[in-house]
């Protein structure tokens, strides 16, 4: 290949990956917009008109839903950020850091739906906590009549989001922290008369925050528009906007589709508004920080606040682990009546009786996850292999699906599929999952890939190895650790997806997630627990393999061990 041909090939690879991600997003948003303005030829609606918007405002609870989304999303993100930074600030020793990673990993890997179901079984009036404390401490013989789940203010939803997002942001912050010479800077600040926590808050935190800003916005977008967790834990009359929109768009009455699409666009507006509020807050806080620095203040109370946040984060982590444990308990329960602390009768019968359905659903989930992960890995490797300095800057665009509310474009994407005659179902679902798997695969893989010692490839080339052999025989094996880690993250992300399966599967594709969400509102906690536990088990298995495979392959290669987190 001549240099010109190589340039064309690289451009084609980058274009293909970019189009695979950006075209669906653009097409989805476009179709949502058309529907939201009443331009739906299939329903003899020829718009453009504002009728869908008037209908949206007239729908019961629409405005309350909007307010609820904004409040729960913003507070969950803000609290998650504070608690995760508090946690990271408290990890001052290598031992604590290792312990934290071990405790956070199972929660981070567990899908949102599974965690939410476990949390509901933990904090509900008839949940495990109430059972553990009753009747000896509370005097309750029957579950009390308090709404601790589905509460109107959305506190349970915020708690659920915190349980999941604090580990995510904490691990991102830990990664960022390793790029900051924190130890020396804290030492200098302490020499200037600042307490350790204060020094961390005032010197290290701003640098860490600047590096995790993108994950923070991902958390914000997610928290504002999450559907599965909001169905399981959030308020129901009215629900958050994303849940309401999902219901309208899935309603048997197709005319609901237009106000639904208007709501989906409104969801995008909510996201933009929240971002605006967030950025304004950032500026204000930065100004306060600068003013403190100029005044030469040695104490501001932020250090103390950070320590409180760290304590709360530990509490939250324990809550998350208990939530996963209670799933395991309920899955092997036969009879467990209130207020017993533990099941009265244990049994594996429901596992046995439901084995067939469970296995087929788990198989379907795994198939989609493996297919989406494989496609995402190939796309990510293709992109990274082809990228130059310019494409490297553009690669942030691949994270776009994470910053746009899912309801805002997935419904439109489904319409786009129908209009262009592409079939809904398995392939569409896999593609929908790739949109979310690829960004995370890139986040995990890009760093190690770009840090790869190019002289190793130069050495291989000097020995006569062409580009294909260099990739397959040198780069990929050396990067086996990051590759398996990226694959495990990909599987975990895919298994957790709810809306892409719902919208693009046209009701024909059932995964552990869609089943778990449905079962969560059912009468039988045992079955819901079994499905939720299976949903969490797939990512756990993935991470175990991701750690085990490179360790096995490189058991005699000291230079490559310890490369996987």
């Amino acid at each position: 290949m001549s240099p010109a041909q190589r340039r064309i090939a690289r451009g084609a690879a980058l274009g293909l990956v970019g189009a695979g991600i950006l075209v669906p997003v653009a097409a989805g948003l476009w179709q949502t917009t058309l529907t939201a303005f009443g331009m739906v030829p299939g329903l003899s609606q020829t718009g453009p008109s504002l009728r869908p918007w008037r209908e949206l405002v007239a729908l019961p609870g629409a405005l309350e839903s909007l307010r609820l989304s904004l409040v729960t999303g913003l507070s969950a993100t803000l609290l998650a950020l504070i608690l995760s930074l508090g946690l990271v600030a408290a990890l001052t020793t290598a031992r604590r850091m290792r312990l934290a990673r071990q405790m956070l990993a199972p929660i981070l890997a567990a899908p949102h739906a599974a965690t939410a179901i476990g949390l509901a079984f933990l904090i509900a009036p008839s949940g495990w906590i109430a059972r553990l404390l009753s009747p000896w401490a509370t005097g309750w013989q029957v579950p009390p009549d308090i709404a601790t789940v589905h509460d109107r203010a959305g506190l349970a939803l915020i708690l659920g989001l915190l349980v999941k997002e604090v580990p995510f942001l904490a691990l991102m912050a830990l990664g960022a922290l390793s790029q900051v010479p924190a130890r020396q800077q804290i030492a200098s600040a302490r020499a200037l008369g600042m307490a350790r926590a204060e020094a961390w808050a005032r010197v290290v935190l701003p640098q860490v925050y600047a590096r995790i800003r993108l994950p923070v916005f991902v958390t914000l977008a997610f928290s504002l528009s999450v559907v599965d967790m909001a169905i399981i834990l959030g308020p129901s009359t009215p629900p958050t906007l994303a849940v309401a929109v999902t219901r309208w768009l899935q309603a048997p009455d197709v005319m609901r589709m237009m106000p639904g699409a208007a709501g989906a666009l409104a969801q995008l507006g909510v996201m933009l508004l929240a971002m605006l509020i967030w950025v304004t807050g950032e500026r204000a806080l930065a100004a306060v920080g600068r003013a403190l620095a100029r005044r030469g203040a040695r104490r501001s109370g932020t250090g103390f606040g950070l320590r409180v946040a760290g304590g709360l984060a530990v509490l939250l982590t324990v809550l998350g682990l208990l939530a996963l444990m209670v799933l395991a308990l309920w899955s092997v329960t036969w009879r467990w009546s209130f207020p017993n602390a533990l099941p009265q009768q244990w049994s594996l019968r429901l596992w046995r009786d439901g084995a067939e359905g469970l296995a087929s659903t788990a198989g379907a989930t795994l198939e989609i996850a493996l297919a989406a992960t494989l496609v995402a890995l190939i796309l990510a490797i293709g992109w990274l292999q082809a990228e130059g300095p310019r494409a490297r800057r553009l690669s942030t665009l691949l994270l776009l699906p994470l910053l746009i509310p899912q309801v805002s474009f997935l419904f439109g994407l489904d319409i786009a599929f129908l209009r262009t005659g592409l079939p809904e179902g398995w392939v569409a679902v896999v593609w929908g999952h790739v949109l979310y798997v690829l960004p995370y695969v890139m986040i995990v893989l890009a760093g190690p890939w770009r840090a790869f010692d190019r002289r190793l490839e130069a050495t291989a080339a000097a020995l006569g190895a062409g580009p294909v052999r260099r990739l397959i025989a040198v780069r990929l094996p050396v990067l086996l650790g990051p590759l398996t880690a990226a694959a495990a993250v990909g599987v975990a992300v895919s298994v957790a997806q709810y809306l892409p399966t719902l919208f693009l599967g046209a009701g024909r594709v059932a995964t552990l997630t869609t089943e778990a969400v449905t079962l969560s509102s059912g009468p039988d906690r045992r079955i819901a627990a079994i499905y939720a536990l299976m949903q969490a088990a797939l990512p756990w298995l993935g991470f175990a393999l991701a750690l085990g495979l490179p360790a096995l392959a490189f058991r005699n290669r000291r230079g490559l061990r310890g490369g996987v987190e």
């Binding site: 001549s2 240099p3 130059g388 300095p389 010692d453 190019r454 002289r455 190793l456 130069a458 050495t459 291989a460 080339a461 000097a462 020995l463 006569g464 190895a465 062409g466 580009p467 260099r470 025989a473 040198v474 094996p477 050396v478 086996l480 490189f554 005699n556 290669r557 000291r558 230079g559 490559l560």
Partner: protein
Amino acid sequence: MTGPVLELQDLTIVPTGSGAALFPPLSLRVTPGELVAVMGPSGVGKSTLISAIGGHLDTAFALRGRVRLEGTDITSLPAEARRIGVMFQDALLFPHLSVGDNLAFGLSPEIRGRRQRCAAVEAALDQAGLSGFYERDPATLSGGQRSRAALMRTLLARPKALLLDEPFSGLDAAMRDELRSFVFAHLRRIGIPTLIVSHDPEDAKAGGARIVTLDAGRAR
């Protein structure tokens, strides 16, 4: 002496997007078995020159001039087709392969059959004083052992010219002397043109090299 000749003709390197060359055009003829040492202040582009000749130039740089090997213009050939061996400061053994498999990676495909290839690798290991090291993890070798293995790997690919980029600077003094005599003895034996980049005049002296000095102002 007959054999391949490495020729540089008006060679210089320009950072892309800038008009200023790193050093004035360099013309040089390295005959078979000859050792030429490229000396010069750090940052002048000695290592970049080596990358350019080997075909490993980063996209941030562009090459001007021609590189000829055995009379053939190889300037636009990809690195893997040039048959120019390279040794960097760190031995850069592939960390995922055993020592022996590292050598086998480079072993010329002209040697066929599992047994013959294995024997060729074992023989090279013997020559490097690494007998019985086939299955060893490269990470467990000493610095000198690693460099010797890397040289044997390079030579097994049967290169027609050799580039050495600060090959001895990562080692302590005693090890450096030992490795120098090892490397130069092998170079005399195979008789191919060799360019060495170094900041240590001892390297050039020990190898009996002709010295070319690169200077931001001029090349002599």
